[in-house]
Symmetry: C2
Subunit: 268 residues, 2 copies
């Protein structure tokens, strides 16, 4: 493919728009790390992989080979075509169009989760992506995302997940109140992560199945959401900082959960 103005190129580039992603149920993954993880962990969702000649050679073993072995379409395109398909940043010669996975809260609860995180109103793409990556690293069972939050298939979110989007279920479009009720029914305790909490993180009961509930970057959690949670937990601040940013707070909470599970000596 060498025509940057072809219909195909336009249709891929259009995936930078939320309305197009919603209508088609697809999104674009840019860069070798994300594409490799998509091919490795979610091959049936991968529709097309586009690579420049240089990237075809460089990623022969970890992208091109596995994609072809899984019967995925692999296309060699000119750098101009790839640039026209991609968003703002350089895609390093690789881009894939992928069907958005659509796990449900039912699926997640049926698997008996031990550690979850719920984003109730996260607006910054980098924060959302970083929380998904942190949830993956901390061994969370899924990430739950409210309908009021940023679209997790937006290019900046996808990039900052560094492939983690394909490692664990990310359930989107949730109603927060209904989700908290469902978690409670399923025996998953809900912990609002909030600077107003009276329970300090080291004192929280992390031995039971639980879900961290995160608010908005700027104004935190809404009062009714905080009140609906089983506990309000505060990450201790040792210095003069007012707070941690949302992604850091979420990651510290999830790592505390992971550590408590692994390390019996430090249990309650």
């Amino acid at each position: 493919m060498d025509n940057p103005r072809s219909d195909r190129v336009r249709s891929v580039a259009a995936l930078s728009k939320r309305s197009v992603r919603t209508r088609t149920g697809r999104f674009a993954v840019e860069g070798p790390q994300g594409v490799r993880e998509a091919v490795r962990h979610a091959a049936p969702l991968v529709r097309d992989v586009y690579l420049t000649p240089e990237a075809m050679a460089r990623y022969a073993d970890d992208i091109v080979g596995p994609a072809r072995a899984a019967d995925r379409w692999v296309h060699e395109v000119t750098p101009e075509v790839l640039a026209a398909m991609a968003g703002t940043d350089t895609p390093q010669g690789v881009l894939a169009v992928v069907d958005a996975p659509a796990p449900t809260l039912d699926d997640v609860l049926a698997a008996g989760p031990r550690l979850l995180v719920l984003l109730t109103h996260v607006r910054d793409p980098g924060n959302a992506g970083t929380v998904i990556r942190g949830a993956d690293a901390a061994g969370a069972d899924a990430v739950l995302v409210s309908e009021a939050s940023v679209d997790v298939h937006a290019p900046k979110v996808v990039r900052s997940t560094a492939g983690s989007l394909f490692h664990l279920p990310v359930v989107t479009g949730l109603d927060v109140a209904a989700t908290l009720a469902r978690l409670r029914e399923a025996g998953v305790r809900t912990y609002a992560a909030d600077g107003s909490g009276t329970t300090l993180l080291p004192g929280a009961d992390l031995a039971v199945p639980h879900c961290w509930v995160m608010g908005n970057e700027a104004w935190g959690l809404e009062d009714d959401v905080r009140a609906a949670c089983d506990d309000v937990v505060r990450v201790p601040i040792h210095g003069l900082a007012e707070s941690l940013n949302l992604a850091m707070a979420a990651t510290i909470c999830m790592y505390a959960s992971a550590g408590r599970r692994e390390d019996g000596r430090c249990g309650e």
Copy 2:
């Protein structure tokens, strides 16, 4: 002040350039949180505070009053002037020009530090700022920054520190090898935070004074730097993620240090 093209406005706007910051020894702080923390914790460094009429009223108690009480220059400017002074993002009606603090490694070591972090080659402004904010929250005694790292007084770094730049010493322009040698002489153990480490974070000796040594976002730590550290420590990855991003890894390490210090039950 109402002329966006005046010399004064130009000279403030020019602080977005590293060369001008280096020559003048000053930098700009945008937004109420950063300016408030500068006035509160580093008033002698604050040269001028600029506010729109709306911001003058809104921040009368937490910026304007304290700045005047500390004999700082407070200027009312039009929104157009403030926009011309500021960088890419909206400064929410407030901007200050501040002398760059210049703490030295000698100052830091003389105070008998227990917890430090050294950024050897951090290039992303958001990462650098987030590490400074995380270091503050975790109660670190200082942040050490190599000469090869991003300028911590660049607008994006300043913004992502959320005021923490004025809460703890940030020593810049350091030579990494010489710094590691100085830390060793001072009895501060150096821990390379690196995915190649054989010591897992929960097993690291965090009871002694130590410094976390962080590498580059993309390619991690240089071999000779890793070899010069007392230990190489890995944050456990529980899921399928390859790694954590640099700011998250640094924050998790520093919070582990803080937790170990606070919580004797979980010490080695």
